[in-house]
Point group: D2
């Protein structure tokens, strides 16, 4: 019996996950069989079109009608819609996969993580930190776990985009504190924070800095000259102190002219260093003990993570492939009723750091993360 999957949201993320699900049988034949059963949204006609294009059997306009019926619930809506449906699904024992950041507020994230804890380990509650599933990042994780970089001294992450640098770029829900929680911080920073937690470990203290360069934007649409306020950050930075003694700097921006989706991670340890850039996601730069410079590794060999499912060495994969890996791992966990990571606890941990960064910016001082 295939798993019945219900998906809330049919925008960018809906397309990315539907595609990932559709690709599993050919490339991950041991993945559980699934049915894209129900696509959930508010605007019936757009929803019907999307369901047709994305291969869903049916549609629904209220998630309440769905979360109990399906075997898995994907919550791909805007941040302010993460909590209620996810908690409802978990309360009836339906595994949930939720987009990141887990929630617009720490309170919401705590409620969601609590619901996941109560649902139990056999009800996976995944948080969509998809960059963990880049083969090069998995390769980096192997190196770090093997201790190849020694004691870690420095971490550095930045996520640069430029789609809001034009002051006339239209207002969206991503500019609204109520709906999004934060701006570049939550949208982009959440990815960086999760990768650093995944690769290097927990963060103890943060000092944050948020800036809004353009504080109001026009609403898109014919015949309107409505202007709405931007109530979130356009860019953030933070300094970190990690549990293992490393120090770090992270930042993100929607105003980094010329950068489209440039997420980079750099780590220096006592025995080596590594660098990763999302726009060249097939590559990892690694410097190991005895090396004098970075070795640029094309992570597409047969024994590289996930690569045996795809193409021969040198035949590069793209951004969407991360979603296939992520859906594979999550759906296997659902079928096996086993734990999945990154989960809601990871989502909450990231949220606590996002929240601490905002608090730090407000108060002008370092904030400790309570353990």
């Amino acid at each position: 019996m295939p798993l019945e999957v219900g998906v809330l949201g049919y925008g960018f993320m809906g397309k990315a996950h539907a595609n990932a699900m559709a690709r599993l049988p050919m490339f991950f034949p041991d993945a559980p069989a699934i049915d894209r059963s129900v696509l959930i949204g508010r605007h019936e006609s757009a929803l019907a079109d999307a369901a047709d294009r994305l291969g869903f059997d049916a549609t629904a306009t209220d998630w309440r009608d769905v979360v109990d019926d399906v075997d898995v619930f994907y919550n791909l809506g805007p941040n302010h819609v993460h909590r209620e449906p996810s908690v409802a699904a978990l309360e009836v024992g339906t595994p949930v996969f939720c987009e990141k950041p887990l929630a617009p507020t720490l309170e919401d994230a705590e409620a969601m993580a609590a619901a996941a804890r109560e649902a139990g380990d056999d009800v996976p509650a995944g948080c969509a930190f998809n960059y963990r599933f880049v083969p090069a990042i998995q390769y980096a994780k192997r190196l770090l776990e093997a201790g190849d970089l020694g004691e870690i001294h420095h971490v550095r992450g930045r996520y640069l985009q430029d789609w809001m640098v034009d002051p006339e770029a239209p207002w969206s829900w991503r500019n609204d504190a109520e709906m999004a929680g934060s701006g570049a911080l939550g949208d982009l920073g959440a990815h960086t924070i999760d990768l650093l937690r995944f690769l290097v470990g927990e963060i103890d203290r943060v000092s944050g800095h948020l800036t809004t360069f353009v504080d109001e934007r026009p609403v898109e649409g014919a015949g309107t000259d409505e202007i709405r306020p931007v109530t979130v950050d356009d860019a953030y930075s933070a300094q970190l102190e990690l549990e293992n003694g490393a120090m770090g700097t992270i930042e993100a921006s929607r105003f980094a002219t010329g950068h489209k989706n440039d997420h980079t991670i750099e780590i220096h340890g006592s025995d080596g260093s590594l660098r990763f850039s999302l726009e060249r996601l097939n590559e990892l730069e690694v410097l190991r003990d005895g090396d004098r410079g970075y070795e640029t590794i094309l992570v597409t060999d047969e024994d590289d993570p996930y690569i045996d499912h795809w193409w021969p060495p040198g035949h590069v994969i793209g951004w969407e492939h991360l979603f296939v890996h992520e859906n594979y791992e999550f759906l296997c966990a659902v079928a096996d009723e086993s734990e999945y990571e990154p989960n809601f606890a990871d989502g909450l941990a990231a949220q606590r750091i996002l929240d601490a960064i905002e608090k730090s910016d407000n108060r002008g001082e370092w904030i400790s993360l309570e353990s």
Copy 2:
């Protein structure tokens, strides 16, 4: 009525094209509907498995039973199997899509191109030069057609792999002159030659150089110590003179240690230059009039070729996406009974150059391509 597609070959290329076909509906909704009807191969049990995994309705062990029944025939077999089934299909008016190089010999290629000519323009006969469908290459084509690089003086192409550098790497049909025609020359050089013809124009004269570094190899398999001769080149180079007065150098190798699938194209004109590398296929380096250095363009913007079908700017695509573009264009041509390029005439043109390069190597002198 969906187009019934028959496919000969279920190896690497079979998987690449089946995947491309499977992905069309979600991303290219205006592509013609198709059925993956029949998968053709010799080994029944492996074939059945492949058909199941690649989503084919049925299997056949003789292409003769198929070419007349289907609406489109894909010939993805080894080079020495290109001619007979392709010609048979064209003779009954079935459009054919054939892997490159078009044939192991010039004679075969000529017969195939003749069959395509006789079938007429409304029966597309495509040759699988998939690298024409890289967005960055299409972008380069636009620049060249607009004259942005001025008069072209230099072209340079190289295709580097290293999978045979180990003398113990096992013998395969690709090492055999009968089955493959040539080695690196036909397998890799055909791509380079097609890209240069596509981007810059016809080649007038060539001087070629072929080398076989390891002249026999072990046959893989338990309990055997059979050794077979390598009767093709491990690497080739050639100097070119183009119709437009440009000069060029091209080369390919299976012995370029550290390079997996490194196909690069470089062009210098009187007003600018460009560079492309397949291992970074989302990027194009362009120098235009007035620029002092190359601009590294990430060809993933909404108005870049094919990109509106995929993901937002900066969300990179992979090697397999070229096959989706290629299948889209070819299947549209089939549905519209219109011309498709690159076609068998392009395949033959490339073959003539491959043949001239080999002849030049044999004779130790330049060879002119008769017009």
Copy 3:
């Protein structure tokens, strides 16, 4: 009459400046004539050797005997020796050139800047921020002054070295708070801060973070097993808010495994971006309005800053050439009795920021720079 030059210090910096002076006549024929008159140091025999090798006419072991006699005084000693001789020289109207950071403490820096102010504009007091004199940095300055990058949103600087990552690397004066003031912060961060002030403008607020990874080190030398404490930072980071509204992050480390002298500057404005790296100091990456990616400019054309003095386009210069440009500008100012920048006021401005970063680290809160 050639200018009589007295130089305190004959280590790395002594060699760098003596070389620069020696090269002026051949490459900058309009530079004032100078005599390398006196080299000052404490260890007579080493001093005599150095004077011989570096082309000085005489030596002295006490700067007090020199500062009044010479026309120019170069103070290239360790940081804690910057104040007294520099002030003494200025008090007798002798122009001074002092290595960076200007001083180990803010108090010292203020005293030095006051002495320079009192000496007047016709007595140049230069601070050795030599990276202003990289042709690529001067080129960047031109772009920024022309407004080519628009309104600046982001600045980023980092200076990575790894010579102390080994815990057994020997103790030096650079590890001592009394003598050096601070560690990576003052030694490396001072450069970054000066470049950002030069290129983008004043800094309003900082949040700093200093870390010492290894807190004691062996003293080098035969027969000793003395251990001394490290009382300065091994690495620092800081977040910045600039007067013009831009935000920034800067950092430096002596623990960045694999990086030798890697000083990078990145700037994003509303109309463009740029990137510079000291280990590729002949290059500047620039993205201007209308560009889609960074253009890698080799800043070695005839009309690039200072290049007409050197070699034809593409014949790259090295790190030492910056010292030639710096000495040229400084010595011309001395000869002309005109203002020179970067001067002691710039040194003090940088020192205030260094000091604020340390204070911020101590207090765990942002520190404003009083205007």
Copy 4:
């Protein structure tokens, strides 16, 4: 007693070598003492200026008056002036250092090499292949000699410039077959050929291709509209077969838009690969056995070739430093009356290959180099 040095030529090369000589005492204190005694040229007033700026004691307008008087003779004139003065100097036992290519014709080169042979090993006759003295190239040489790259399969070299791409760029002696011998081939190709001989070994057979894109050019100068023919190549390419079984491609151009002085060398062996680029001459990219990608090595460590004479790690050197290394080695050989390489025999060997490439182009066939 310092060596008396006479130098013919005070253009670009005169400046480069005078500078190198001037820098030796400070950085290579064990180099023999020299006097820049006589500068030789035809135009008295320009010559006097140059002698003054470049630090020569005297001038002469006829080399005949000089070659016997000095201890060393530098021939830095145009190619057609290489033979006569060099031979005359050698005949009187004066060591000679001659710019490359050794001569405009094979006949001249043979006469010069014969003169050097007759003068004997204690009279060094150096040919100015300065790129052997790049630290990264010396480092590559060490790797190759240690066998780290295994058996060599591929060599590749190209030297790209663009200073003649404008058809209005003025005519110079470099465009004239009588004076220059050849164009890009001799001027740039000679460097590539020497590096390949130095690093990998002798060349057995060549197939060459020369092109002249613009066949006449204006003569520079007020009030003239004279046009002169270009009788040399603007660009060349060649295919190589090496004695050790490797194959190669080399090329050079003065029409490679956007490239100023871009000389790259690439080598693939059975166990590794390397890449070098002159515009980033402090770096070497190396892939060794067991590596998966190229390691980018900054060749500025203390134990790297020549680096202990200069600056600490990461403080990059420039193009001119190669001349210092080269002059150091040559002048030491003069002082020691010992052999120096690259010598006139190397110059002749390169000349034979240049000549074979031209012959091959003329005849349209491969040419063997007689041993």
